[in-house]
Structures are given as structure tokens and as C-alpha cells.
Subunit: 453 residues, 2 copies
């Protein structure tokens, strides 16, 4: 069987729901459908989830938000109208939403979270009604009834281990299950959401619990591209890549698939296929545990900006036991995560995301490193971009690094740092942000445009 | 003024001492001479220091070692004979050595250390006698009288801060000071040696204390070479390099100058010149605080084997605050130092020297990482060599990395890892030990044999 997840733009209008129904009903293996809240119908539109957040906030302030409630309900009503559904489901959605809005407001973030989660929950009910209207044996399943239990952190719920066992029982049910994405319940019965794009997580958890043969993730692009299309136009599509490669790509700017969502599928070795609701015949991209590397060693070029580097030098640092550990302890004391630590003999560089540090934190860190570790020199460089060449097959390919560095050199990009560990799933280059696009272009040309030797 | 240090091979015979006298007396700035114990006279010979260690050990076992005492004293006597010196100084050396051998044996390592140190001490007295015999105003100065105080760890003495102030008073003395290298005294009056090649350290401390204009280090090679001559024949000599470059080179297999010895000179910005006693007109190599990079970005290629790499992967490692710090803590608990930590998104590789770990430690470390950090995969790879391209001017040279990686790729060397931090004093490549020489050849050819663009 297959778990199929549809994103918000795939479910934004009646016309989109018709496509979704066609896709699901064209393959009897597609028995579990995970739905998002209605997304944008056009570039200026607002997602239902965002309307819900505003609505909850207004309720917290004024105890009512009649216009927002109507605009939310009308989003569902428009779809129902378009599809010729009865008003029953819309009445149900309106009453349920109003009941939620009148709920316990003692913990505002939990209150907002439950309202936010209703976007998916209500849409699952609407989708189930539409599928039945089309003659399918489809029904809404509540995450509560199915036993999808999560931790209590709003917006960052973690699945509880027993959920997998609970959800596996859905296998016995007949027909098509319509399951709302994005949230679960804590043990007190509160709705708690996963991190943003959390419907991907729900689908992945279900795929794992049900030992699905495939987890299909329908979105609005034909495939994962080998490079960011906003930097390089018409880039090559990736047909197949490994979990590790996907993770490395999504780390540095690829946002097609929520990387945290890969974990449950990864743990159960379930392939994840990314497809386009608007073009379901396109091959899509499949994320697999292993792949052969017939398509060349590199699958993609990713980049992300907003990094900084802290450079620390101290003569004979190399002989000091515990130096590196103490540097990392100082970062940890301020809850900072670092990305990489390239090092010379007597110096180390720490690459971290700038947005974790304001000036106060930065100054405190710098002072502590200087004073407590008696460093000779501590400097920080801002506006660093990381550019990654990703491909699991690089490991056994002698020339990959040479090709990459030559491409950067030919493009007059100065490499600020390089990081390549034993895994060789990726080579990371640090460059100045001003040279990021130049670097991505150069690497894309080197690995995808030129004939590979 | 200049502090001049002579190594053991420069002081092994009377003929060598004649060269030393010529060198010192040819320049009135050479007023402080640091001497080593007599070294090897030929490839089969034994250094006096090694004879002394054996002699001390035999004394500890049997309370006497008449033959070893004679062979030690005869080394000095042969030199005195060759130079036509009176027997007075030899008698003095013999009685002093015998007195030391009858000394306190309660702490065997300290006992051996004091015997070991006498090699330099006695030779300084002999050299001073010879210089006076030649008509020079030269005299032996005892480290004790001069106030060279050190910590009490035999074979790894660290200079006490007050020594610099004490030694600075030598500046007022007239004539040529002959100062024994390799040891100082702790506050109880015990002779304690520096680490091996410690005469370099003594010279560097004196150069700092006396604010010398130059610290000349006479040895038996014309210069520091840009690559190990046992791998590449007739390599290019290095005329000038920075402390940092010297340190990076000496880290990975360059043993011309003891890198710990650079510190005192480095702290006082005193240039260090490496020259050849047997060819004093050769230009030598000068270690300086800064250099211009007119000779190309790279000064040398160094390599060293005997490393291993521990590869750790864990899905979403990157999001775990404290992961890296906890890995380093595990290493620190076993007093292990690491060299580099290249990393991917969800993996890190730790490069460390194999000789720190036996199988038991290795297994313990691996198990702790696996269990305590819940890693997905922990593997160790042995027989790794590190090959370094060193040059402070690489920082602003776009093509250096490309040139290096292309050279390795053309030579079919697989790069296991790369490490290049912000300092860019060096780029480190990890390769399999079996490919070490191949890699060094390829890099040397790329940076020194081909015309540089």
C-alpha cells in the first residue's frame, strides 16, 4: 500500500480536489491520504493556516473575530460549492471551529496551536465528504482516535513511540483513510502541531507505522531540482537520491521536503516519492536508502547564506588537550549550534548561523574565548554563504573535488574554507555571500552542463 | 647581538669544533653560544646523550658502569686531544660525571635526567676551554648561576617565567658566553631536561631573554627544504618562512627545528635562522614573523602517516546541541588529542594519531560514542596519512586549492578528507598511507616544478 500526502496548494480549490481524487482513485494501493489545510489559490492569497493564527490571536485579544471566522469558513464553503457538496460538512466545520475558539485560553500558545491545527482537521473532513460524494469508500480518521500521540510542545511536537503501534492498526480498515496532517494529541487530549510543513511528518509517521511500500508526497513541482531554480534557470531534475543526499540538500536551502519529516520513513527504509499534483504523469523524484550512481557522482548543488565564522588561533593549540571541547562548551552555554569546525594546526574556525546571535551574545562569546582559552587571536567574519556539492557517489570518485575547486577558481570565487569528511556525501565550501550565486553557477556548470568525463 | 646554537653533529669532533669557532669568531655579534652534547661522528656512532642514558640505567641496576663511563669521557678526551687542549678539563668532566652518578637515586627518572643533562653541561665546559685556548674571551655559564629555572617534569621541563628576567642580566657580561643547552634547574636545584632536541629551546629562551637581533640555529643541512628530501630528491630550499608556516610544516613530518622551541623566539618576534655548520656560507632558511609572498603562495609540502579517522554519523546530528562537545569529552576522558574534525551535516570525522590508542582504548571509545551518543554508525579507518600544503599567502590566492586537488586527481590519489579553515595557512588532505608518497610528489610537482601562473 501507499501513503499519499497532498500539500496545501494541491487542496486549495475544488478543481484541485478533483485532481487529488483522480490521483488517489487511479491506484488502489493509495489507501491512506494525508491532507494539509487549504493553501494559496494564487500568489496574493492567504493560507487558511495563517487566517486561523490571526483569528486565534484576535480571539485572545477581543473574545471574537466574526469576519475572520467567516473568511475561514467560506474557504471551505467555496470548495464545497464548487464540488456540489451538501452544506452539512460546512455546518460541521463552522460549529467545530466556533467551539474551538471558545476553548481554554489559559495557555495562549497551546490555544493558538489547537486553532491552527483545525485547518487540516476540517479539510480532512471535507475531502472525505467529497470522496464519498464521488462514490469512494473513504472516511475521515481522527488522529486522536487513531492514537497519534505527541509531546506537548506547541509547534514542535515530537511523536510518542507508542503511536507507531497504535497507527499500525489502521491497516485492518477497509477503504480509503483521509487523515489530517500537521498535528497529534498529547496525553491530555490537546491538539499539538508539528513544526511548519508538519503534514509531511504525519505522512512519514503513517508510512512507517503501516510499513507502506511507498510514501508519495504530492506538491506543486515536477521534481526536486539539482540546483535552486531561482539561481539557475531550467535546472536538471533529480530522478533518484538517497535520504542522506536529500538531507544535505535540504540543509542548505532546498525546501521541497521538510527534512525532519524524512526520519520516520528513513527508519523504516520506505522510499519517498515527490510528485506534482498538477502533473501527476511526471516522473517525480524518489528518495531511497541506496542508489546506483550511474548519473554521475553529484546529485545537486545547494547553498545557503546567513552564516558567520569565528576564527580562533593560538600557538600550539594543537597540543592542548580539551581546547576544542572548551570552545564548544562556551557555544553550548549560549545554546548556539555550530555547523562545521574546519581547523589548521593551531587554529580552528567555527561556522555557525548568524541568526542565533545578536551583538551582545557575539561579544560575550568572543570575550569568553579570548579570556578563558587565552587565545592569541579571535575574529569573526559575517556574511558567509555555504555552498554544498552533494552526492553519495563522490566517495569513490577521484576527480570530484578537483573539478569543483577548479570551477570555483575559474569563476574567480575565493574559497574561504572547505570541509569534506570521510562520508563524502558532500563537500562544503565557505564563500563570501556576495559570491554565492557565482559559486553556485560555476559548480552547476561544472557538474551538470559540461559532459561528464 | 645574536644567540647561536650548535647541534650535536656540529660538535661531534675536534674538526667540527674548529668550524664552530670560526663561525662564532667571524662575527662579533655572536656573543651567546648554546651547545649540545657531542652527536654522532658517523652513521654507526652513538650520541653521548644515549651513552649517558645507558650509563645511568646501568648504575641504577648495578651501582657501577665503568666501561660506559670511560667511553663517555673518552668522547670528550678525543676532542680535547684533537684540539691540543690540556687534560684539566677532561679531569673535571670525569670527576663531575662520577659525582653525578653517585647522586640521589630515589627518583630514578629524575636521576637519569640529571645524568642525561650532563652531556651538554660538560661539552659547554670543553667548548669554553677550547675557545679560550684559541685566545677568545669565552667562558662557560651554568644555567643554575644564570637562573634558568624550569618545572620538575623530567624530559618535559617548562621554563619558569622569572627565568627571562634572570637571564636578561647576561647582557651585561663581556666576552662570549658558552651556555649548555637542553636543561635547566628546578627550585630544588635538580637538573631537569626539556623535551628531546631541547637545546633549540634553550637557545630560543636566551634569544628572548636577551632580545637578540637574531637566533642562529646551526645544524647539518643547508636549509629547510620545501618537501621531505627522502620523498623528492633535490627539493627546492626555503629562503624565508613565517613562524606559522614553520609550525605547520614541522607538525607534519618536518623535523629540522623543534617546533616547541619556536615559542620563546616567536613571542619576542626574533627571527630564527637555520644554517649549516659545514657550509656556513649557504644562505640558510630564516623564520620570520611576516614575509612577502613573492615566491608563490606555497612554501612547502609536508606529510605524516600514522593517523586514523573515526567516522560518526547520526541522522539529524546537526540539530543536537552539544553533540560535538560530548564526542570531544569522550576523547578527553582518555587523554586523547585529536587533529581535525571535518564534518558533513549529519556526520563528523575525527582525525587523530593512532599511537595514542591501543585496541582496548579504541574499542572503549567506539563503544562509548555508539552507546552514549546513540550514533547510527561509528567506524574507524586506520593507516591514514595527512598531507599538508603550507603557505601563508594562500589566503588571497584563488587557484591554490584547485591546483592542489587537480594534481591529486591527476595522480589518481583519492582524497579521503579535506580541511581548510579561515586561516588558510595550510590545506590538509587526508589520504590512505599507501598513497602518501604519490600525493606528496604530485603536490610538489604542481607547486614547485611547474612554472607558476
Amino acid at each position: 500500500m501507499k501513503v499519499v500526502k497532498f500539500g496545501g496548494s494541491s487542496l486549495a480549490t475544488g478543481a484541485q480536489l478533483e485532481k487529488v481524487f483522480k490521483i488517489v482513485s487511479s491506484d488502489p494501493e493509495r489507501t491512506v491520504v494525508v491532507v494539509s489545510a487549504p493553501g494559496k489559490r494564487n500568489a496574493e492569497d492567504t493560507k487558511v493556516t495563517d487566517l486561523l493564527i490571526n483569528c486565534a490571536k484576535q480571539y485572545l485579544l477581543f473574545g471574537e473575530a466574526p469576519e475572520l471566522v467567516e473568511s475561514i469558513v467560506s474557504r471551505y464553503a467555496d470548495i464545497a460549492d464548487e464540488l456540489g457538496l451538501s452544506n452539512d460538512v460546512i455546518d460541521l466545520i463552522r460549529s467545530d471551529l466556533c467551539q474551538l475558539l471558545e476553548g481554554d485560553q489559559q495557555d495562549p500558545s497551546r490555544y493558538i496551536d489547537s486553532i491552527k491545527a483545525s485547518g487540516e482537521d476540517h479539510h480532512a473532513k471535507l475531502v472525505a465528504a467529497y470522496f464519498r460524494h464521488q462514490g469512494a469508500d473513504a472516511y475521515y480518521v481522527s488522529p486522536k482516535d487513531a492514537g497519534l500521540f505527541v509531546t506537548s510542545e506547541p509547534g514542535n511536537a515530537q511523536v510518542q513511540p507508542e503511536s507507531y503501534q497504535n497507527l499500525s492498526k489502521l491497516k485492518k480498515q477497509q477503504g480509503i483513510i483521509i487523515f489530517p496532517g500537521f498535528f497529534g494529541f498529547n496525553h491530555h487530549g490537546d491538539m499539538i502541531t508539528f513544526s511548519r510543513s508538519g503534514s509531511d511528518i504525519t505522512g512519514s509517521i503513517l508510512a512507517n507505522a503501516l510499513k507502506a511500500d511507498l510514501y508519495e508526497n504530492f506538491t506543486d513541482v515536477d521534481a526536486v531540482y539539482s540546483v535552486n531554480p531561482s539561481i539557475v534557470s531550467n535546472p536538471k531534475e533529480i530522478r533518484e537520491l538517497t535520504y542522506r543526499e536529500m538531507r544535505e540538500l535540504s540543509y542548505a536551502g532546498f525546501s521541497v521536503f521538510h527534512d525532519e519529516a524524512l526520519i520516520p520513513a528513513y527508519r523504516a527504509n520506505i522510499p519517498v516519492q515527490i510528485k506534482n499534483t498538477n502533473n501527476p504523469d511526471a516522473e517525480g523524484t524518489t528518495v531511497v536508502p541506496k542508489r546506483d550512481s550511474t548519473n554521475g557522482p553529484v546529485v545537486g548543488i545547494a547553498s545557503d547564506s546567513g552564516f558567520c565564522s569565528i576564527y580562533i588561533s593560538k600557538y600550539l593549540m594543537n597540543r592542548e588537550i580539551g581546547f576544542g571541547r572548551r570552545v564548544l562548551q562556551i557555544l553550548e552555554d549560549d545554546r548556539l549550534t555550530y555547523e562545521h569546525i574546519p581547523s589548521g594546526i593551531d587554529d580552528i574556525t567555527i561556522i555557525l548561523r548568524q541568526d542565533q546571535m545578536d551583538e551582545t551574545i557575539e561579544n560575550r562569546i568572543m570575550k569568553r574565548i579570548k579570556d578563558e582559552l587565552d587565545a592569541d587571536e579571535v575574529t569573526v567574519e559575517h556574511h558567509i554563504a555555504l555552498v554544498m556539492v552533494v552526492g553519495q557517489a563522490m566517495r569513490h570518485n577521484v576527480g570530484t573535488t578537483a573539478r569543483a575547486t577548479k570551477a570555483l577558481s575559474d569563476a574567480q570565487v575565493n574559497i574561504e574554507m572547505i570541509n569534506q569528511g570521510s562520508s563524502e556525501v558532500s563537500i562544503m565550501f565557505g564563500v563570501k555571500e556576495a559570491q554565492e550565486k557565482q559559486a553556485v553557477h560555476a559548480l552547476y556548470n561544472a557538474f551538470f552542463e559540461k559532459a561528464l568525463i
